[in-house]
């Protein structure tokens, strides 16, 4: 990318803090949070919105950060990455269930998987297996297969009932 390109100033809320930064016209939200803010939990897999490794919460909903241009962000937009949920009770329960079920191998897809899981359990605390599969259909894992991941989501939901 050309460095003498016009830089654009943006403001938005990142993990609960109002922030300002400068971005290039073609820069995605994914590139911005990794480069400008050094938040590297969010990963680039395919870069085309098919693998879900770059999933973040945008105004409370999961999106692919690799397809969202940073320059389109406005001061009212709220972005939450896995780092922003480090102290969140539900996210911690999800992460523990992933570990307990052996759902993590290389770990590259996991930040995205847990974001999709978080979004699902937030609105549907007791999902059926079909609902789990549907909610995670936008996240690809190339190590474990999906059974352990599905089991982890079910376990996180089950533990939340107690």
């Amino acid at each position: 990318m050309n460095t003498d390109e016009k830089r654009i100033s943006i403001q938005f809320n990142l993990n609960g803090h109002d922030v300002k930064t400068e971005v290039l016209p073609g820069m995605t939200v994914l590139e911005m949070i990794r480069r400008n803010f050094k938040l590297t939990a969010t990963k680039e897999g395919c870069g085309k919105g098919e693998c879900g490794a770059c999933s973040i919460l945008f105004n409370g909903l999961p999106i692919n950060s690799c397809l969202k241009l940073a320059a389109t962000l406005t001061p009212s937009d709220k972005i939450v990455t896995v780092e922003g949920l480090a102290d969140d009770e539900l996210m911690q329960r999800i992460q523990k269930a992933y570990v307990d079920e052996g759902a993590v191998q290389c770990g590259f897809c996991i930040p995205g998987m847990t974001i999709s899981t978080y979004s699902l359990l937030k609105k549907n605390p007791k999902p059926t297996m079909d609902e789990i599969k549907y909610a995670l259909a936008g996240n690809i894992c190339r190590c474990t297969g999906y059974r352990k991941i599905e089991a982890a989501v079910a376990k996180a939901a089950e533990r939340g009932e107690k």
């Binding site: 016009k6 995605t28 919105g49 098919e50 879900g52 999933s55 999106i63 320059a71 259909a137 936008g138």
Partner: protein
Amino acid sequence: MSFEFYKPSNIKEASELLKNPGYVAVVGGTDTIVKVKGGFYKALKALVDLNGLFSKEIKVEGDKCIIGSACVMNNIAHNPVIVENFPALAEAALSVAAEQIRNVATIGGNVGNSSPVGDTIPALYSLEAEVNIVGGEEKRTVPINEFITGVGRNVLQPGEMIESFAIPMRKTKGAFQKLGERKALSISKINLGLSYWNDGKPHYRIGMGAVAITVLRVTKAEEFLEAAPHPLSDETIQQAAQYAIETAKPITDIRSTKEYRKQMAGVLLKRALNAIKN
């Protein structure tokens, strides 16, 4: 990847910008950004951010349901007015890609892209939707079946944008069917939207995608079904499916073969008709 970025503050300003060659509109960006990264736009000069300029709402105005062009797939899929009255469109929106895409991909983008496989398009054909277009201060309305003119081509002139969609307000039954390599995220090999309503006599509308350069209406099957005794018999459904096969004029490409697509046109119509039977 060197280009400018503009965030116009109103529709008139956006329209002026989009009159320039190489200026491309972006809202959800789920197709546009993939194309930008892939170098699809050979002469890209600028992206024009239309976020905030068009409505994301769905509302009923008189005898029409108006869907703002910035309305995202998940909002369409779960909106009570759409679910209740236009199930073909709700199912189509729910079938698009995956959760992360459905939260940002807009209906205006799906139609504006004018791909022959855009999933909401056959549903909009089946509901006789109209496209409300705005360019600067002028507005015009075009029926959906006259909007798309070819693969990736439509009637939008430089500076024109889709403002909203208008669907005649009536309670329909309907279904959306598609085939892909997997349920999520696959681009359809073929898709089909069916809507039915009865205002004293039965009406069937069938839109079929990926079987020609634009979505096709299967008028021969529609007329046949409307004249057939109700409830529809298996033989009637079989004959309608045959008309869908005859209507389909698909090609062979990376996603499927023309022979398979042609046969599946009949299968999808059969499935859709069976789905609305009760």
